[in-house]
Each structure stands twice: as structure tokens, then as C-alpha cells.
Symmetry: D3
Subunit: 317 residues, 6 copies
């Protein structure tokens, strides 16, 4: 079990623990000798490291993305901490707790998943219920679905984030469907789970959260469409009309062509799905942004993507 | 009480009832004689009319916007019905039922208003409750608030539409505030009523729904800010911080500068207010657009502002 | 065989031939009697029609979209020709020549198709050649692919337009791939056929050219992805990398998110595919626009979508 | 009186003078001891500082934004000057000359103000003259109006900048109103002063120039509307039409909704006001940008917001 | 001299006067006979005309754009006046007063021109004065410059409009240059005349105002650059630096690349030129738009290009 | 001949060779003594340098942009190499090989130029052939045309890049013109050479690649138009129509007003020219971007201007 975390290392201490080898580069000193510069990370942060000896061996022992066991010590270089690496060996992923290496949801994953499953058991449209059952009966899918982040940055960008986002959206969708009579609640709920289902393959989230090759080339909309087709083939007599409407929700959930949706939402359910997605991702993203800053100031720093400072209030002024 | 409505007039019938004089223009025949062309309307539609005789007198008796009692008959001109006006007198507005002349909400205005008031009585922040009380104790405001439309077109564009929109938003806001812990429910509810309060003066909705002079020059954001200041002066010791946050919600509710908000939403409550407004106006607008079309086709005609056809479904295809 | 075409009908002549019933509406005369207003079309244009007698029977005999045999005569109404319908019976689609009813490519469809097939036989990448073979061995697909238009308006908006567009793009792609060394010609050619393959289902083009329900809800990108998956399942051991790159070309061929592509082109082949598509659709669209106007003027009328007049030259001025 | 300014400090000299404590942060050395890093500024610039001793006491004696009297010396750290702080005490704002701490207009504030007042005395519309009189009779307003900057960056971003901007605009408006007959000169001049009047509260400019809480939440348009209403209440019988037109100028002066104006300019005077504001802010901003660079080069560096280099000329080349 | 104008023709009157033949089309009656439909115009408007007899001869006698002498009478067709043409002969342009056929400035062209020339005589930079002299010594240029419109629509869209626009801009530039010290008044004034000089060839304005072939293909920026080069060749030793700065003003006067300027303004003079152009074209365009509407309403109709209604005031409300 | 290049300098070695003096600045040490900081570059990169002695003399001996012969040694400062300059003398440009100092095309310039000339000799339109002959007979132009880059960054940003770009476009244009019958091949080829001809003056590329004063003020479109006019004057009886169409291609080649083209393409040839330019610049730019990165990763870093990562493939994954 991992005991030493990046955020708690101090100058002078000895290092003997496992990290993710986030980057590795061979460099050459002025005197012509080679050395290695590395980047080591865990869920609490990232630190630069350097290896002066055994460079050839250490350089070939592990690749970026591997878990590596490091023996060495903490020094300082230009005012920042730096790990001096003496030994490095690859660690078998099965022997480490992934949760030590990536930021994760603060909520209980299994409880969230159970709650989501229970919601879908209340659905009254048999083909939709059967479709969701097909997804949740696929153990490999469920394992990935419980781990995947909902984004690389901006909102729910942590292990379990996709599940947390889907559950929150499902609960919200349920409330909103009740508010507006005539909304097809089951179709909306199915859309909530399916619209982002492609994210389980769009991202790599074994050792770090980043886009996968498939994610960058194809994107979660196209992956999700493919996953939906695979599962629909398992449901006898799934109605063609329903299939199109689910695909429509996946295809249109970004809300407009300029955000990468091939079609804009054309049913009330697809319109609602888009807004529920917007609300839940913005509320989560803004709250995390506010929480990441110290509590002293009334205002957060400038949020580059959203283009504004957020106000956390001035206490009882 | 009005008995003859535009939609039910037929060629050859006699006309004797009250209409809104929507337009009036003096024209000259080829033989040099003058005549009047008019546009007469009520809540069911609008029809052209013409007066060949007594032109001088009829032309001076009423102005556009007046209620007028018409005596005449229905003829046809180039394939369309046309009223031949014999006599026209101005009607006192107090003697007519406004509801006969403008489209109106299908819901009970007083019940909606009571429900909204009861919601605000549950608020637990005294200054906000006092502020809303100040608004609802102003009989003149309440009368206008119950009648105002929420827009000229697009959504809730009918008498009572503003109230219907606010109530729907308040109920939605209540559900969403419960979903996300930590949201200031009272502030959000206050924002729901106040964000569009300027619309009671932005529109004219006595005889037709259109922008008022003040509405076009100043807009409902600025009018709402002014109305808020007036009522805050009636609440002793209203907190400055709260005043700014309410103003912020009015100012930012369009969501971004490019939609005419001087500032974008910078608190979670302001962000939520914007989305709740978006959802409720879009759902109402799209549903009305679908309902306005015949039920035969699976698709509506093209919606010019939203840039798409909407899908009403193909039954059991 | 159809002998009477819309463009050649004259007032006073008798009508006895087959048309597409493009629209049908029941109306009521001022005297309370019902009548039918119809729109009848063939590949040369469209004409309004009216039926005064046997309204109930004629109104139920056929639906919009049917081929109908019309007996009647040509009259005039408000300066335009109008068919007075005496009898109307539904015609079996198998008994009519579709080419009489829809605009079609001026080129030989079978020759174009053979040429395209021969191009793909020169491909040197076995899995891609096998994939294309799977498409072209599917008789149902081939039949649709030979008929489909490439668009509803703007370019290649006629029967056979998709094939004409794909062949022209393939020839162009071949030339451009030879120009730039290092381009994967086979992948680019495969992308040329596959990028728009979803259009065989995005459009209805039996009796008129319009979007299908599936086309409007899902769009040709998502349909094409699904069709690709279906055929890849028929090719043993199709490489995963190749599958992603083909999907990437389908997904990115609009060139940017703001044109509805979930991802922008990220390989040289995908970038080239986008530009070849742009060139071929613009050249075809502009030439058809110029040709549709009389030859007298140096300039075309204003092209609303492209926002300019086009110059056809002033002869030897 | 302040004698030591940031721009003239040199390594090795002793420091004993007053600065603005722009930032204050507690840090921890590798050996576990705490120290303070500070940022000290005056109108000539900003310098980092550090306190190694008495950390607890010094850390609690003053807050960011305070004037502080510093005793210490100037050292160097990584090639840059750094103040080593020995003692720090809070200074009473009334005992310092604000002009020493913030950049200020190069012009005489009182002369500018007198000139502006004289212009308004030439106005021939009594209610507008009375309104301006109400503003200029408010000593608290006048004091702020003479100090406020017109912006945080970009143009007139210094003490007295708002007054300088308003006066320049008023003189320009006078010339332009004379050029175009039929322009309501008085209304245009009133708009010139009022359009940015909210900036006296939008910014904090006691010790540094930044947005105030109210400024960020509500913005100068909404603040200005409120200030206008307060003063109009002091003018008996101020005409409603005039009030709307002034509000219209405040509301529309950014020129278009996409720049945060709830309404675009709809009168000739409002259109002129917008352009005069544009001209004066751009001319001032560009000139300051050019002046801030050395005089050697023909071109300025790239201006990120305006997206170009500016040309200062190449002498007699 | 022309006596009969389109706006004053009445049904039944005889026509014998000169018009512009704006359009000419051959049509065929239902009985197979040919007839001509024409459009005849003068500075007061445009009217449709028809010729039933001598069709072959009349059809070949004149081309669109010619001045034609018409003999015939005024009838009515579908509620609108229509000229029945009996005879039509081409009129020599030299024998007609162009001012009768195109809308023209209300100001005295020669007085405006003199005033502009006098302004340029005050210039103190010899090469710029010489350059302007070269333009004004070119009789052909001066003739066109006095006639050209400044636009086809929107502002100064009448004979003499370009001169009126340039003079107004020059007077404004003079005032603004005096306001801001350090502006190169001569360069700015030269820019005012030169920036739109290409419009003398961009438009056709002999018989109607429209773009010329050269105007549509090349545009007034490129034409103006060419005209500038032609005249600079006539000035001995014209400084290269000055030539570039004048070209810069022509090239950048639309203010930004997105409005078709290859470069944005990069000198204070070029920035001022852009705004002066904006002010003068907007003020003229808005005033003409307001004046073109009846004086009854407080608001103009919706201005499609500027996207708003304009307010003309409500009198003493 | 230059022997020491920036990329191969190592700490401790002696320097005695020629470089471009890219920047020069006078600085002052804490002790009050002056020193010089320099930037020295050649085609392999750029390095900072410093001169501690003879500062006054060295500072006046050369200006930024000069070739300078440096005597000194290589040291290190804060982890980076730095040249300590002992002596510096200006080198006569005629005595150095420009190719040593700027990045250059990898292809043979003379072969490229010959191939381009041979293409133009196949043109069948005499005036166009004569026009191109006039350009290629101008030795000064040819010398610049062979050296000019096509851009400062993004694509073909090296000596000979403009020629390489034009030749590649010409070959592509030839293939595309053959593909589409009816395209005027000669006009398209002429457009290919002429559209960017202004770049020979838009850039400075003697010692470094940057915009010239004329380039920044006027841009290559306007310069190209002027150069075209100069050469057309050398061709007797050059047709006006052809002149306009060539100018149209120069003016419109950016494809749309928002990219700085005063007019959009309005002929098929101008449309093709724009796309051929787009294809060739994007293919070259993307390939150079991919090549500039190490070959290890499947993905390039993020391309800021194009807004994406590019995929170089994952080998046989």
C-alpha cells in the first residue's frame, strides 16, 4: 500500500514507493554524459525527478504510463523539490491500488451504481428497460463505467466522474420530467445514461486521465452510437423508431452543430437532455473551481474557459 | 359581450360587434375619391376592412389601438373575406372584456398567482420574503403582473404568460435547488420572480401585444432594476450584499454578454436561474410551435429562429 | 409511358397522365361545400390542381407521395395554370418510370458505377479492398447508392447525384494522392466512398427528394458509421487501427465542429478528404446555379447561401 | 511625503517609506520555518519583498490593500531586486498622498472639472441642466468622479482617467453636434457624462485599480442607471420621455448586444455617443500603448486585445 | 425636358415622355401570340408596362439600360397602374437630363466640390497637396467624382452621394484632428478623399445605380489603390513612406479583416479614418431611413441590416 | 564559409564565426556598469550572448539585422548556453552565404523554377503567356521570387518556400483543371503564380524572416495588385476583361471577407484557386508540424492555430 504521496514529500527525505511514470526523457549533460529526466505522479500531484547513474538501464526499464517503484531521495533544484532516482522497477498494475494514483469521486461508487440501477428498474417501457439491462449485465462495461471520468478537465474530471454525472443527471431528469407533463420519462432517462456512454472508451484512465487514440479520432458520440448498436442487437424486436430517437439523443446532446453535434435536438426529450447535461456539468465544474481556491477571497481567479471570475461571497458583509 | 369573432365570419353575413382597430389608412381611388382601409382584430385573428362612405367622419372617429364597434357586412375581395364598414364608433375599454381581444393563457390566473404567493411564504430569509411581500402588496403591480405576456413571440406570448412562466420556473427551481445541496433556494426563487419583472412595462398588452416605447428604449433588464430599487426602499435594512446579488441575477440572466447581459452569471444561483429560464422558455415555445401545426405530419414546418424542424413522432411506425 | 409533362401543359388542353401527388388539402368554399386543392409534380416541375366534384372519394383515394393517374383539364386561375381534376386513381409504383418524376444526373449511371468499381479494384490494401467489395456485393445497397442524391439542394441534388459526386471525388483524390507523395491513396479512396454513404438512407428519393425521418433525426454521419460497422463485421480480421481511421474520416469530413463534425480532421488523408468534398460540391453547385439562369447576363442573381453573385463572363467585351 | 519609489530602488540601499501592500502570503521554508512573501507597490511599479523574522507579528499587522510603512533593505534574488522587510506598520490612509501610489492623469484635475462644468452651464434644456447640477452639487460624487479611472486596462486606466475621458468626449461631442444639424446637443452632452457614471462605483481605486465587488456583480451600466434615478428624483417634474432617452443612452452605449448592451442604439444621439466613446477610448489606448514602448522601433510589440502591431513611423526613411 | 414622372401618372392619362428601360422581357400569351413586358423608371419610381402590338419591332429597338421615349397610355392591371406602350424609340443620352432619372443629393454639387477643393488647398504637406491636385486636375475623374453615389443602398445612395460623404467626412476629420493634438491632419484629410475614390468605377450610375462588372469583381479598395498609383506617378519624388501610409488607409478603412479589409488600421490616422467613415455613413443612413417613413409613428419599421427599429420621438409626450 | 552553427556549440568551446545579430540591448549591472545582451542566430537556431567589455564600442558597431563576425567563447548561465562576446565586427552581406543563416527549402530552387517556367510556356492564351513572360524576364523579381518564403509561420516558412508553394499549386491546378472540363486552365495557372506574388515584398528575408514595413501596412494582396499593373503595362493590348479576372483572383484568394479578401471568389477559377491554396498550405503546414516532433508518439502536441492534435499513427498497433 502506497504511503508516500507527492504532496507530502519534503527535502532531504528518502523515497521508496510507487508512482506513475508520467514522462521520461533522455538528456545530455554539458560534459557529454547522459542522464534521465522523469515526471512522477500520484493522485496528489506531480514532481520532476532525475537519474544520474545507471542511465542506460533505467531508461529502458519502463515506459511512460507505467507504474514504477522508485528508490531515491528528495533534493532541491532551483527552489523546487526534485527526486533523485537511484533505482526504478516496473510494478505490476494488479499489485497497486489505482485509487492512489488518480483523483477520484468523493462518493461511494457502488452505492451510486446501485441507485442508478434501481432507477432504471422503475422504467415502464420494456424495450428500453431491456436495453439498459443489456448494458448493466455486461460486466466489462460496468467495470469501465464505474471508473471512467466524464471529462479530462472542466467537470467530473476524476475516476467515477462519469457515473456521478449520470446519476446526478438521472435524478434531475426524473424531477424535470415530473414537472412537465407529457415528457417521455423513460426515453429521457435512457438518454441520460446513453448520451455519454462512449466516454468509457474515449478516455484512458488507468494511470492518468487523457484521451485515448480512439477518443481523439472518433469521439464519444460515434463510440456511443456503436456501443448502442451492439446492445440493441441483444434485444429482440427493439423498435426502429425508439432506436432512432435514442441515436438522436446521443447525436444531438451538445445542443447545436457548432458544438460538434451533427444534428441539433429536435424532440422535447432531446432538448431537455441537452440542458440537464449543461446544468450538471456547469454546476459541478464551477463548484470544483471555487473549492480548489483558498477560502479567503470573495472572488475566484479568472476562469479562462468560462471567461469570468466566480463569486463565493463575502461572508456577512 | 362579444359574439362575433374573426375566425367565424363568413361571406355575406352582417357584422355588428366590437373589434380592435389594429391599423387605419386613408387611400385614394383612381377616380380621386378617398376611402379607408382598416385592419380589425380580436383574439381569434385579424381581417381587412374597407369603408367607402362617410370616409371623413369615420377616419377621424378612432385611432389605431382603439376598441371600435363596427356595423357592416362581410364581402370578398381577391379571394379573401373583407368587411365593408358602414359605421364605426369608439368603445370605452371599460365596457369590453379584454380577454376577447388577446390570446391568453389556458390556465387559471388567480390559481397560478395564489400558488406562487404560497411558495414565497415558505421562504426563510426575512429580507427576501419582505421584498416579495412589497411587490405582491402593490395592487397595481399585481394587476399588471397577472396580465403581462413573457414575450412578443417565441414563448408564453399571451396574456398571463409571464405569470405562467414565473410559476413554472419557481416550481422547477424548487426541485433543482433540492437536488443540489448548498444552493440558496430563497435567493434563487427571488431571482425567478425578479429577473423578468421589467416585462410588465416592457410590453403593451392592452389591445395587442407589442413592445412599449420604454420597452424598446430601455429593455426589461433596466426596467426590472429600477422596480427592484423602488421596492427595496420599502424594506428597512435590506442588506446591501443581497441587493447586489439580486441585481446580479437580473443583469446576468441572459447568460452571456452576446445575448445582451451586461455581466455573465457569476454565482451558482445565477447560473441556475439562466438555465431554468432557458428550459422553461424553450419547452413552452417548442410545444406551442408543435401544437400550432396540424397533427398529421411527423414533422413541424421549419422553425426559422431555432433553425430546425421538430419531430412530433410517427405514431406506431 | 408518361407523355404529358408539367412544363408543357397549356390552358385548355385535356390531361390524362400520371403525376406525383405532392400535396393534398381539403378546403371549404364560402357556400359551405368542400373541395380539394392538390399539388401535382413530375421531373419538369409542379402545378396546383383543384377538384370540385367527388371530393369525398377523391380525397380518400391517395396520399401525399403517391403516384396518381389524373383525368381532367387545364384552366387558369389568377393568371396561372391550374389543373381541374375529374378523376384520380393510384398508380402502382412498379408501373411507372421513376426517372419521369424526379430530376436525374445527365450521366450514365451504370458506366459511372463500373468506373468507380474498377478504381477500387486497383486498391492494394487487402482489408480496404475487401471492405469495399462487401459494400458493392450488397445488391440492395448498390441499388440505393445508384439512385441517391447527394443533397436536397445546393449540389448534386438529383437522382444519381451521390454516385456522380463520389466518382468525381475519387478521380480527383487519385490525382491529388499522386501529387503528394506519402498520402495513403487506398485509405483516401475508401474515405471518399464511405464519407457520404449514409446519404442512401438520409434521403427519401422515391417520388420526391427530401430528408427521411432517420435522416433528420440521426444524419448521414451517424448512419454511415452504422453501415460501416455492418460491413466490417463481414471482413475477417479487419484491423482496428484501420477501422478507427475510416470512422475518423466519416466523422470529420465536414472539416470543423461548427459544421457538425464531432471531431476535426487529424490526419493528412482526412484533411484532403474534406477539401476534395468541398471542391467537388462547390464546383458542381456553382455550375448548376449558373446554368439554371438564362445566358444573357454576365452575372447570376444573388446566391443566398453563398452570399454573392457569380460571374459567367461578358463574352468578348 | 513619500521619497522612495519602486522604480528608483537599487541593490544595497536602505528602505524606509510607505507602499501599498498589494499581496501577502505565508510560506514555509524547507527547514519548517515560516516566512512572509509580500508584493509592495506604488505609482511607479511593484516589487517582491520577503520577511524572515517576526513573521507571526508582521503577518497579522496588515491586510492586502493597506498602506504600510516598511523598514528594511534592498537585496537581490535570482537576478531581481527584492526588499528584505524588517518592520512593517499600517499607515493611516489620511496621512498619505494617494497620488503617490497609483498612476494618475497627466492633466490638472480641477481645471478639467471646471471646464466640464462650464460646458454644462451652456446647456439650454432646463431639466438636463438641473440634472447635471444635481450630480455636480453632490460633493461625495464629485470627489469620486475626479478620481475614478475609466478602465482597469486598455485606456484611461489611471486616477482621473474617467474625468479626462468624459471631458475629451464632451469636447468632441460638441464639435460633432455642430457638424450635423438637428442633433440634440444637450442630450448628447448629458449622455457623455452619464454613460460611464457608474464607473465611480464599478472600480476600487483607493490603493490599486481593480473592479469592486459591486462592479463585478452588477457592472457600470446598472450602477449608472441607479445613480441616474437617484438624481432624477431631486429634479422636480423631470420629463419621462427625457428619462427614457438618457437611460437608453446608458443602456446602449456599448453599441450592440454582443458587447453587453441590453439594447443597441436607436436614436441618432445614442449612435453618436457610442462612436465618440469608441474613438476617444481607442485613441487614448493606442497612444498610451505606443508611448509605453521605446522609441527605437518603427513598430510596437503585438497588441493582444486589438490583435495587431501599431506603426509609429520610421522617421525620414 | 421631362414632364411626366412615374409618381404622378394616373389611370387613363396619355403618356408621351422619356424613361429608363430598366427591364425588357418577351412573353407568350396563351393563344400563342408574343408580347413584351417592360419596366420603365425615372427618379421618382418604377412602373410595369406592356406592348401588345409591333412586338417584334419594339423588342429589338432598345436594350435594358437605354433611355426610351414612350408613347402610350396608362391602364390598370390587377389593381396596379400599367403603361400600355404604343411606340418606343431610343433617346440619345446626351439629349436627356440624367438628374431626371436617378435620385440625387439635395445639395449643390459644385458648391460642395469647391468647398472640398478649398480644404485641400490648406494642406501644408507639399506631396499630399500635389497628389490631390493631380486628382482634381483630371477632368474625367472630377466629372465622375461629382456624380458617383457612395453606395447602392444604406447611405448616400444617390447621384452626388460620394462627394457629399467625402465633404462631410473632411469637415469632421478637420474638427477631430484639431481636437487630438499630434494627429497628422493632412494625411487624414488625404485619406478621407482617397479611401473611397475607387467607387467612381465600382458603380454604374448612368441610368441606374448598381455595381459595375469591375466593381463586383475587384471592389473599390483595389480600384482605389490602382487610381492612387496612377496619380502618384504624376508627382515627382512622392515619398515612399507617404505612399505606403495612404495605401494603408485605403486598405484598412473597413476597420477589420472580417469586413473585407486586408489589414486592420495600424496608425492613429487610419483608426480615425475608419471611425469617421462609420459615423458619417451611419448618421446619413439612419436619417434617410427615418425620413423615408411617414412622420406619424414614434418608431420606424424594422431595419433589417442594422437589426432594430429607430426612434423618431413621440413629440411632447 | 561558416563552420560553427548554433545547434552544435557546446560549453567551453571557442567561437569564431559569423552570425545574424537578431537583437541587441544595452543593460546596466547593479554596480552601475553597462553591458550588452545580444541574440545571435543562424539557420540552425538562436542563442543569447553577452558582452562585458568594450561595451560602448561593440554597442555602436552593428545594428539588429546585420551579419556580425563574433570572437568569444561559450559559457553557461542558468542552465543554458550563452556566448561571451569578446569582439564583434560587421560582415559584408556579399561575403556570406545567406543559406547558412535562414532555413531553406529542401528542394533545388533552380529546378523548381525551370519546371514552373516550362509549365507557363504551355499556356495557349497569348496575353497571359506574355504577362508571365514579363514577370520572368524581370531579373530582380526572379531573384526575389526564388528566395521569398510563403509565410512567416504555419507553412512554407523558409527561403524558397513561395516558389515551392507556387510550383506545387501549379501542378495541382493542372490536374484539377483537367478533371473538370470547361475550366480555363491558363487563367487558373496565371492566378496560381500571381495570387501570392506580393509576398516577395511583404516579407523581409535577408537575414531573418519577418514582415516588412510595407508588408504590415499594405499586405500582399495590395502589393500584388500593384506588381500586376506594372507588368500589364508592358504587354500591348492586354485585355481589360482578363485584367479584371486576374485582379479578382488576387483579391478573392483568401476565400471570404472574414479572412481579409475584399471580395469572395465569384468565378469557378477563383473558387478553385482558393481551395488549391488551402490544400497546399495545409498539407505542407501539417506535415512540417508532424515532422518537427519526435517520431515516438502517435500524436503531435496541440497545434494552437489549427486547434487540435494531429495523428501520425501508431505503427502496427
Amino acid at each position: 500500500m502506497k504511503k508516500q504521496f507527492v504532496e507530502s514529500l519534503t527535502a532531504g527525505s528518502r523515497v521508496e514507493d510507487t508512482f506513475v511514470l508520467a514522462e521520461k526523457r533522455l538528456a545530455r549533460k554539458k560534459d557529454g554524459a547522459d542522464y534521465l529526466t522523469l515526471q512522477l505522479s500520484d493522485r496528489t500531484g506531480s514532481l520532476s525527478a532525475v537519474a544520474w547513474d545507471n542511465v542506460e538501464k533505467l531508461g529502458s526499464v519502463a515506459a511512460a504510463g507505467d507504474f514504477v517503484r522508485i528508490t531515491g531521495s528528495v533534493g532541491e533544484y532551483r527552489g523546487a523539490l526534485q527526486i533523485i532516482v537511484k533505482e526504478m522497477t516496473v510494478e505490476d498494475p494488479s499489485s497497486v491500488a489505482a485509487a492512489d494514483f488518480l483523483p477520484a469521486t468523493g462518493q461511494d461508487v457502488d452505492q451510486m451504481f446501485d441507485r442508478l440501477v434501481r432507477m432504471f428498474q422503475t422504467m415502464e417501457t420494456p424495450p428500453l428497460r431491456d436495453l439498459l439491462t443489456a448494458f448493466f449485465a455486461d460486466a466489462d462495461f460496468v467495470e469501465r463505467f464505474k471508473k471512467a471520468p466524464a471529462a479530462k478537465m472542466m467537470h467530473h474530471a476524476y475516476i467515477g466522474g462519469l457515473l456521478e454525472h449520470c446519476l446526478s443527471m438521472a435524478l434531475l431528469a426524473d424531477r424535470i420530467a415530473r414537472h412537465y407533463g407529457g415528457v417521455d420519462r423513460d426515453r429521457l432517462l435512457a438518454g441520460v445514461v446513453l448520451h455519454d456512454v462512449g466516454k468509457v472508451r474515449e478516455f484512458d484512465y488507468q494511470h492518468r486521465i487523457d484521451y485515448s487514440d480512439e477518443g481523439r479520432l472518433v469521439g464519444h458520440i460515434a463510440i456511443g452510437l456503436e456501443m448502442l448498436d451492439e446492445k440493441i442487437r441483444l434485444v429482440d424486436g427493439f423498435p426502429e423508431e425508439e432506436r432512432r430517437l435514442l441515436k438522436h439523443m446521443i447525436v444531438s446532446h451538445h445542443g447545436a452543430m457548432e458544438y460538434g453535434s451533427p444534428e441539433p435536438p429536435k424532440t422535447v426529450e432531446a432538448v431537455l437532455l441537452h440542458y440537464i447535461d449543461e446544468i450538471d456539468s456547469k454546476v459541478n465544474g464551477i463548484r470544483e473551481f471555487i473549492a480548489a481556491q483558498g477560502a479567503e477571497d470573495a472572488w475566484t481567479p479568472y476562469h479562462r474557459v468560462l471567461g469570468r471570475h466566480f463569486y463565493r461571497g463575502s461572508g456577512g458583509k
